[in-house]
């Protein structure tokens, strides 16, 4: 292999892919932490609230729905940018629904269950859609659903990084109320936290991050759920001033490692990233349930 060739591979494919993995790992882990603290539920995560499925539905409607249209409109609509917009719109529709419901329903556990049901609902709609779709479109959607860190161009990586970092900066003022929420909503309120406003703020950041991440790399399972647990276990604290940076660091490392494994070293094969994260994530969650009688936040 000539120098030019590997330089091309390294700078145009491998490095953007690694950066994408780092950004995705950081973003999903932070969203998972936000959800777990807000809902005081160790099983909360971006996919649990149905935000990921909402983004998925947006993409499904676009990819498979356009199959029913004429050839020209299809080419115009089936573009990377439109997929991005569709996913963000889908994520925010679900998020808006949850926001509206959370105004009526105070019980956070109920909101989690509603999130799961919304997820099931969108999966069902996707199922029905796929039944009426041509094989090509279905395959395109299926590939998106596997999750892929490798298809972003350099320019897209820049856009992706900017959005993720804006999200992170927006989290800084949340560190204090997130800590108060560790004591429950009543204590938090007594310490001066505006619960309603804080909840909305957290949900908007979580929705934005999940929508953008899902749009760029597809739904990636278990990172958001597992990384906050690993961070709390390793650093033995719930203090968000420590856990948030810890989660960002660990999330980046874990998805980077998962991506390296998915690349299947010494071979030309690439396994879907989602298969790897699930392969590690699912047993970890089971282990957590068995070994930790009490869930700690």
């Amino acid at each position: 292999m000539s120098k030019d060739t590997w330089e091309h591979i390294l700078f145009n494919f491998r490095i953007p892919k690694s950066i994408t993995a780092i950004l995705t790992g950081m973003g999903l882990s932070v969203v998972g932490l936000l959800m777990q603290t807000l809902f005081r539920n160790p099983m909360a995560g971006p996919s649990v609230l149905g935000i990921s499925s909402g983004a998925g539905l947006g993409v499904a409607l676009l990819v498979m729905g356009t199959g029913l249209l004429s050839r020209q409109t299809m080419d115009i609509l089936n573009h990377e940018l439109t997929i991005l917009i569709a996913a963000i719109v889908g994520a925010f529709v679900v998020l808006l629904l949850i926001l509206l419901l959370s105004a009526k329903i105070k019980n956070t556990l109920s909101i989690l269950i509603i999130g799961l049901m919304l997820g099931a609902l969108t999966t069902a709609i996707v199922g029905i859609l796929s039944y009426f779709t041509k094989a090509e479109q279905l395959q395109e959607y299926m590939f998106w659903g596997f999750g892929s860190l490798g298809h972003l161009t350099k320019k897209e990586v820049w856009i992706y990084a900017s959005i993720i970092f804006i999200g992170f900066i927006a989290i800084i003022p949340l560190l204090k109320p997130l800590n108060s929420l560790l004591l429950g909503e009543n204590y938090a309120q007594n310490m001066g936290v505006n619960i309603k406003r804080t909840k909305k703020y957290i949900l908007i950041i979580a929705g934005l991050l999940t929508g953008v991440i899902t749009a760029f790399v597809g739904p990636i399972a278990f990172i958001g759920l597992a990384v906050p647990h690993i961070a709390r276990l390793l650093f033995n604290t719930s203090n968000h001033k420590i856990v948030v940076p810890a989660v960002i660091l660990i999330g980046a490392i874990i998805l980077l490692v998962c991506d390296s494994i998915a690349q299947l070293p010494f071979s030309e094969q690439v396994v879907p990233i989602n298969a790897i994260t699930s392969l590690f994530g699912a047993p970890l969650v089971i282990w957590l349930i068995i070994h930790k009688k009490k869930y700690h936040f």
Partner: protein, 263 residues
């Protein structure tokens, strides 16, 4: 104490407490005209369901009053912003804290959130108040332990220390001695009494400990039949209010021993 001039902090005017309902509001107690002075330990007594917690929650602005007004420093309490109110009123609740990995120290420090900036950094005053809270409750040895691993009595002290660190003139406690043995119940009452008298805190607690309250509290509020009896122990015993409210076919109040016995 009684000779010193009374300094009223919080008063209520025809306060009606309870829960809103579509058809008709569920009134728990009504026509309450109460006064909280600084340096007072007030015990809120009453049978189960008489509205002790509802009263505490309403006064602490954790739920809305159905009717009537609450005045904090002569100003309608509903006009206070949450952030300002958090520097006036702190609470110790019955609810169990969600599981977390916070240490006792981290939890006490959180009391300062009512005063810290948006980044939650501690200044010299914050540290001073935290030290005071730790010393007043005598829990130096617990600071590095995880809150969730402490005994019920220790947890209660840490929560009181958190309320002290919050540095508010008023502290509300909802059944602070529920899970404690008799020694720790007495210890908690003594601590609260000392905090009220020594540091001029107004401490109001809902409790089932009639005997201890009669002995230790400066004032008793006894909820009964949607109304409230207030006064010091001697008066309420003399007027037979305590017997009238709490005596049943099983028990009667012995004024001399300040306790209940089997009939």
């Amino acid at each position: 104490m009684s000779s010193t001039q009374k300094n009223s902090i919080l008063t209520t005017q025809n306060l009606c407490i309870g829960y809103p309902n579509k058809d008709a509001n569920i009134e728990i107690a009504t026509g309450l005209n109460l006064e909280i002075n600084s340096g007072e330990l007030i015990a809120v007594l009453g049978k189960n369901g008489s509205g002790k917690s509802t009263l505490i929650r309403t006064l602490a602005q954790m739920q809305a009053a159905l009717n009537g007004k609450i005045f904090l420093h002569q100003k309608d309490i509903t006009t206070y912003k949450r952030e300002v109110l958090s520097q006036e009123i702190s609470v110790v609740l019955t609810e169990k804290l969600p599981d977390n990995l916070l240490t006792a120290y981290e939890l006490i420090v959180m009391g300062r959130q009512a005063h810290t900036n948006w980044l939650d950094t501690l200044n010299a005053i914050d540290k001073e108040k935290i030290d005071f809270a730790i010393q007043a409750t005598n829990i130096t040895s617990l600071l590095d332990k995880k809150f969730s691993e402490l005994s019920d009595g220790q947890q209660q002290k840490v929560l009181i220390a958190k309320a002290l660190a919050q540095d508010t003139p008023i502290i509300f406690l909802d059944e602070p001695t529920t899970h404690l043995d008799v020694h720790h119940r007495m210890e908690t009452f003594l601590l609260l009494k000392e905090l009220a008298h020594k540091y001029q805190k107004s401490i109001i607690m809902a409790t089932h400990e009639i005997g201890l309250s009669v002995q230790m509290a400066d004032e008793l509020w006894i909820l009964e039949k949607k109304s409230i009896h207030t006064g010091n122990s001697q008066d309420l015993i003399k007027n037979k209010i305590i017997s009238q409210v709490f005596d049943s076919d099983l028990i009667q109040f012995n004024a001399e021993k300040a306790s209940f016995e089997y009939k």
